[in-house]
């Protein structure tokens, strides 16, 4: 029984490690670190928010569901912004004026990934891509695309992460 337990523990720990070897963003593994410019031109690095829960949302101007999601993220930011959750959106449009406009409109922090380097790091294949990173810098939840009702799911997940 003890051997079985240890074996299961070993297996559970090794599976995500193998998935990372294939390049995907996997819950339980460290979120790939990056630095990008915000709308004001300041450089910001993901690892500098260690200690806070981070909601990382990749989006583009042409993605209709992304704007629906951003409205919901702005609401969640009002709810959780002062409770240790940082909302970071990453715009992947080539031109940075989209990011600057969105930052002014939504009140969310917008980083610009014009050359797509960070999107590649996160193996982006669907938009929006939302990654919830815990206070230790580990990926905890990954959501591709956005459907009505997903915001309620983010809400539940954030509440749980804040209670840890």
């Amino acid at each position: 029984m003890r051997t079985q337990f240890l074996a299961m523990l070993l297996t559970a720990n090794l599976l995500p490690a193998l998935a990372v070897a294939s390049g995907a963003v996997v819950p339980g593994q460290p979120a790939p670190d990056f630095a990008l410019k915000d709308a004001a031109g300041d450089n910001l690095r993901l690892s500098e928010w260690r200690g806070e829960v981070v909601v990382l949302a990749f989006w583009a101007d042409w993605c209709g569901r992304c704007s629906d999601q951003q409205q919901e993220l702005a609401k969640l930011q009002r709810k959780y912004g002062e409770r240790g959750v940082r909302f970071v959106t990453v715009n992947i449009d080539r031109d940075d004026h989209v990011a600057r406009g969105a930052a002014a409109r939504s009140g969310l922090l917008v980083l610009h990934d014009g050359d797509g380097a960070v999107a590649r790091q996160y193996d982006l294949s669907n938009l929006p891509l939302t990654v919830l990173v815990d206070a230790h810098g580990k990926v905890r939840h990954v959501h591709e695309k956005y459907r009505g009702g997903d915001a309620a799911l983010y809400d539940e997940e954030l509440a749980a992460l804040l209670q840890e």
């Binding site: 029984m1 079985q4 240890l6 523990l9 297996t11 090794l14 193998l18 630095a35 990008l36 300041d42």
Partner: protein
């Protein structure tokens, strides 16, 4: 790539072993007995020992990977340092070796403050064969009067046998009221 493959082999082996052990059949009709508290404490201590061993193994693998990927005789490391910084607010450094981009790094406010307090940042670690190589660093940021500033510095390095360390130093030239960019070799 060799250490990664080694890691993958080790992990795959452990995974197969783990899976085989985890799925040992339980005899039909046999109720799994509830573990006694003493047995649980023993499992806890074994898990702790296992965790320590995994950490040790991870550390050894990291060192092995560094040694295999960057052997001392071909190793080149490039560091960035800053002195004073009154005339230059660092934004990024791009590094090219033999006209090939090898590293590009955006510095956050916190990282710039760390450099100003005497910190040194390793921007690149790689391999170079023996012979002459050209190293070019392009610094971007804000210069005097908050103007956008972009400056390059080039150094020809002779790579012999043994590790090569290069420092990219940003300092202030008081006499010209301008920043100065130095590339210095350390043996």
């Amino acid at each position: 790539m060799a250490p990664n493959r080694l890691k993958l082999h080790l992990m795959s082996g452990a995974l197969l072993l783990g899976t085989a052990l985890a799925f040992q059949p339980v005899r039909a009709g046999e109720e799994p007995a509830a573990p006694a508290p003493a047995a649980m404490a023993s499992v806890d201590s074994e898990v702790q020992v296992l965790k320590d061993e995994v950490l040790d193994l991870n550390r050894e693998l990291f060192l092995l990977e560094e040694e295999l990927l960057f052997p001392a005789n071909t190793q080149v490391a490039v560091f960035v340092s800053m002195d004073v910084g009154e005339f230059f607010d660092l934004d990024s450094v791009q590094l090219r070796i033999d006209d090939k981009p090898v590293s590009s790094y955006l510095y956050t406010e916190r990282e710039v403050q760390a450099l100003l307090r005497g910190g040194v940042h390793r921007i690149y670690l790689g391999n170079l064969k023996t012979g002459e190589h050209e190293l070019t660093a392009v610094f971007t940021g804000q210069g005097p009067h908050d103007r956008d500033y972009r400056r390059g510095a080039t150094l020809k390095v002779e790579k012999g046998i043994g590790a090569k360390f290069v420092e990219l130093r940003i300092s202030d030239r008081e006499s010209k009221q301008q920043p100065e960019f130095l590339v210095k070799e350390w043996e």
